[in-house]
């Protein structure tokens, strides 16, 4: 079953759902389906029950930073020419800023039809940590396999899954505040780092510990270990 058929079938069966096909230019032709957060659980349930996508293999997040698209357009402007004001076509760069968002990708397979993958995507409204912007519905009630993987996405990307039975950090410790897989994540320089003498981390670490020399860094090798 190709993606367009699935889309049209879903649009009939789940009234009101907004679906969008994202083309994938890679030779593997794995085009994906973006589903709106509101109808995601219904769509997922339909996919599982009627289209036999019973095997949700992979769940992961993607961080899309806000970006500025710049395009050159020709604008007609009145310019002071030698012969007085005249209308002229001028090249101008127009910048449109696309807001950043986070995305969850579910790779669905069917064990009965042996088809797949069907990448199903959901997008958040924004990238702000915490709050409404990063809220998405959890698909754990539909596919149990999402349980740990959604926890991981929550941990590393900071997407909150509504309806997840046990949404805690998976890999980082509970007291950790940031989300390290975000593309604008800056790793702290106060963690214990095995000093390799050729690393800028060493310089940062030295800076950090210069005020409070820890016992582990009492006698660091000077320079390049020469």
């Amino acid at each position: 079953m190709d993606l367009a058929t699935i889309q049209s079938e879903l649009e009939v069966s789940v009234p009101g759902c907004r679906l969008q096909i994202v083309d994938n230019p890679s030779p593997c032709v794995q085009h994906s389906l973006v589903v709106d957060a509101e109808h995601a659980v219904l769509v997922a349930t339909y996919l599982q029950d009627f289209l036999h996508f019973d095997y949700c293999s992979n769940v992961t997040g993607v961080d899309w930073l806000p970006k500025e698209l710049s395009e050159k357009i020709k604008v007609k402007k009145t310019v002071d020419g030698p012969n007085g004001p005249e209308e002229k076509e001028v090249d101008e760069v127009r910048k449109t800023s696309v807001p950043g968002y986070l995305e969850v990708v579910y790779h669905l397979f069917s064990t009965t039809d042996r088809t797949g993958p069907l990448p199903l995507r959901m997008r958040t409204a924004g990238r702000e940590v915490g709050g409404e912007a990063t809220l998405l519905p959890s698909l754990t009630p539909v596919w149990r396999s999402c349980e740990f993987q959604e926890r991981e996405v929550y941990d590393l990307f900071g997407i909150h899954f509504e309806g997840h039975p046990d949404l805690r950090r998976l890999l980082m410790w509970d007291e950790f505040t940031d989300h390290p897989m975000r593309r604008d994540y800056v790793d702290p320089d106060d963690y214990e780092y095995e000093p390799t003498a050729h690393d800028e981390v060493l310089a940062r670490m030295r800076q950090h510990y210069s005020t409070q020399p820890g016992p582990a860094f009492g006698d660091l090798p000077q320079g390049g270990g020469q």
């Binding site: 994938n24 030779p27 593997c28 659980v41 064990t111 754990t140």
Partner: protein, 391 residues
């Protein structure tokens, strides 16, 4: 058009009977932290267990002790530079990790693989399956308290396969062998004969192992009916690999995706019907026998030829923008790599679908109501490697 019934959230809490006995007198419950330093957690894995006597009432796995944010490292690394890092995911089977990653990149960029390289990939991957399963059954018996004997037998055989890997790839465990569009080096002279000899000798070990333990009453008592995983839960939780097949789910990616040149080989997929620890153990033993069949065919048919796509070069690889999910049947289950390229030399997004982590989703379901001793055995039968779980 039939109506959609919304799913009920999964029961992640213990069955009512257990909960009742626990809530009646909470003071008799014992909270125990199994791990992170524990001989049977196969690394730094931790389970927070609540016990009623020795019976498990609740079990919450705690991950992350070996977390190094592999995916973040990979996003700052070139495509080729990631290859040695994949060795360190499931450090017992580095060659299948290499293959999964190479396959995903090849799908992403549309790179063909020469025939001899495909054969070498199948040979190394099936040898990896042998050594992984041999090590696993050894560890499983070790967890059951056999003081090392099955494990040492398994390691004795594993050593022979590791010698093969060293002769081919230069390293015993961190092989870093596959490249996008083939393999790094060709098999040295005599290597194939050496491999044939190892493959021919391997059934002797399996026979010995079966004599030692398969009909052992203690083993059967400890494993039969313990940690039963139903087929439905296995599908819903995306359990893959031998664990899924032990529950009767006929899903072997070698057969489903037909990646590489697997359709050329005749082999069967063993299926269990009970889904308990004994089935998981036996499925692995049977899979080893099937792998031997594939190896015999591959070592017989391997053609001469180039091993690397002529267009592939070590430096300056920049796939066109796009994304791809590529997966193979690794010894532990479905190992997938999800890559998004933005046209730069580093992947924009690099995701590993770790079979070990996802197979652990059902750990609590399997363990509830069993003994502490069973928890260890069930965990052993899931077959995890923490390098892959925590990444």
């Amino acid at each position: 058009m039939s109506t959609i019934t919304l799913p009920t959230p999964p029961v992640l809490n213990p069955p009512a009977s257990l909960e009742a006995s626990a809530s009646e007198n909470p003071e008799r419950l014992l909270e125990l932290s199994l791990g992170p330093q524990h001989p049977s957690t196969h690394g730094v894995f931790r389970m927070n267990v609540v016990l009623d006597g020795e019976r498990v009432v609740r079990l919450k796995p705690v991950f992350g002790y070996l977390h190094r944010n592999h995916e973040k490292i990979a996003e700052n690394e070139t495509y080729l530079g990631n290859m040695p890092y994949t060795d360190r995911l499931d450090y017992i089977c580095s060659l299948t990790n290499n293959w999964a990653y190479a396959l995903a990149v090849e799908k992403l960029a549309g790179i063909p693989v020469p025939e001899r390289a495909e054969y070498l990939r199948v040979i190394t991957a099936e040898l990896t399956r042998l050594l992984n399963h041999a090590a696993l059954v050894g560890f499983l018996l070790q967890d059951m308290g056999a003081s090392g004997t099955p494990l040492m037998y398994a390691f004795r055989e594993r050593e022979k396969i590791l010698d093969l890997f060293e002769a081919l790839t230069g390293a015993r465990m961190m092989c870093n062998y596959m490249r996008f569009g083939g393999c790094r080096v060709d098999a040295p002279a005599g290597w194939l004969d050496q491999a044939r000899k190892v493959v021919a000798d391997f059934p002797k070990f399996l026979d010995e192992f079966e004599k030692l333990l398969v009909s052992n009453e203690i083993l059967m008592e400890r494993t039969q009916g313990v940690g039963v995983l139903s087929r439905e839960l296995a599908i819903s939780s995306a359990i893959s690999g031998p664990m899924a097949r032990a529950s009767g789910l006929n899903y072997d990616i070698r057969k489903v995706d037909c990646y590489g040149i697997y359709p050329r080989f005749s082999f069967r997929v063993p299926l269990g019907s009970h889904g308990d620890v004994y089935d998981r153990y036996m499925i692995r033993i049977l899979e080893m026998r099937e792998s031997l069949k594939i190896l015999e065919q591959a070592l017989r048919d391997i053609p001469e030829g180039p091993i690397l796509d002529p267009k592939s070069k070590p430096r300056g690889f920049r796939p066109k923008p796009g994304e791809c999910y590529g997966r193979i049947e690794a010894p532990k289950g479905e190992l997938g790599f999800y890559l998004i390229s933005d046209g730069s030399p580093n992947p924009y997004r690099y995701r590993v679908r770790p079979p070990s982590l996802i197979n652990l989703t059902v750990l609590e379901d399997l363990c509830l109501g069993h003994n502490v001793a069973d928890v260890v055995v069930i965990l052993g039968s899931v077959d995890i490697v923490l390098g892959e779980v925590d990444r």
